[in-house]
Amino acid sequence: SRELFVSTFEKIRENFRETFRRLFEGGKADIFLDEGQDVLEAGIDIVARPPGKEPRSISLLSGGERTMTAVALLFAIYKAKPSPFCLLDEVDAALDEANVERFATLVHEYSTESQFIIITHNKRTMSAADTIFGVSMPERGVSRRLAVRLEDVGDNGEIRAA
């Protein structure tokens, strides 16, 4: 229905503005329904401006800035309708350490509301976890699970034998 979509859209929009500002420690982002189309069919446009920079097309953003913007939007949608669990697969791959820090802190907060399962190679992300599972292939081609403690993980994310 029309009202349901518009009210959900407005909620997501507010979440997005806030989550973006949180992940970028400033800046400004927004989403818009394309003009001239019926609300039930209009496409959705995204603008994002990291702090101190001028607004320009999101295609000109850097790899890490695009990851942070996409994460802000996906979590804005999540917050409008939280799912009981979230699966994140190497979302932090393009992020520098300052951004991983902000990302991990945010996810840690959300994890009190929903269960999070996060695949990562990054030690800072792992340090936000309540539990760490290792997957390895002692026999090639055959996966096994192993318990891993944060102390067993090297600075570069590799699992050292406990």
Partner: protein, 165 residues
């Protein structure tokens, strides 16, 4: 409603029965390239009803059955079980624990079980539909595709918003 545990047997690289028990909060899965981490995500998507083999990186559903290694023969069936804690009755059934199982055989035929009795895929889907964990409703950010929502056309992007409405 939350996940309690995931059991894989013969699913992709998980030739052997393997179980993950998920606590509350944040769980990280770590390990070297190619060891099976994303296969765990595929398993969860699959047991919750993913029907497109391409969404699991394959070209047909049988691609998820453990296909053997240089030292170990292929198997004939893949099975994944996901156990939910239903103490809040988020899933509209009388059990405090809900177990969803899916199997696929080499001939392509699939089986679905709800608390160990056979059911149809549509029964599972109806059950999960309003819980936010139906396939399509849960929040998944896939490896290498996080910025897809930025790259998509304005119309494709809308589908994600409509899910939330």
């Amino acid at each position: 409603m939350r996940l309690k545990s995931l059991r894989l047997h013969g699913f992709k690289s998980f030739a052997l029965r393997t179980e993950f028990t998920f606590p509350e909060g944040l769980t990280c899965i770590v390990g070297p390239n190619g060891c099976g981490k994303s296969n765990v995500v595929d398993a969860i998507k699959w047991v919750l009803g993913e029907q497109r083999p391409t969404a699991l990186r394959g070209s047909e559903m049988q691609d998820v059955i453990f296909g053997g290694t240089a030292a170990r023969k292929p198997v004939g069936m893949a099975e994944v079980t996901l156990v939910f804690d239903n103490a809040n009755r988020t899933i509209d059934v009388d059990w405090t624990e809900v177990e969803v199982t899916r199997r696929v055989y080499r001939d392509g035929s699939s089986e679905y079980l709800l608390n160990r009795s056979r059911c149809r895929l549509r029964d599972l889907r109806e059950l999960l539909m309003d819980t936010g964990s139906g396939q399509g409703a849960m929040t998944i950010m896939e490896q290498g595709k996080i910025d897809q929502i930025l790259r998509e056309g304005h119309q494709e992007r809308r589908a994600v918003f409509e899910e939330a409405a």
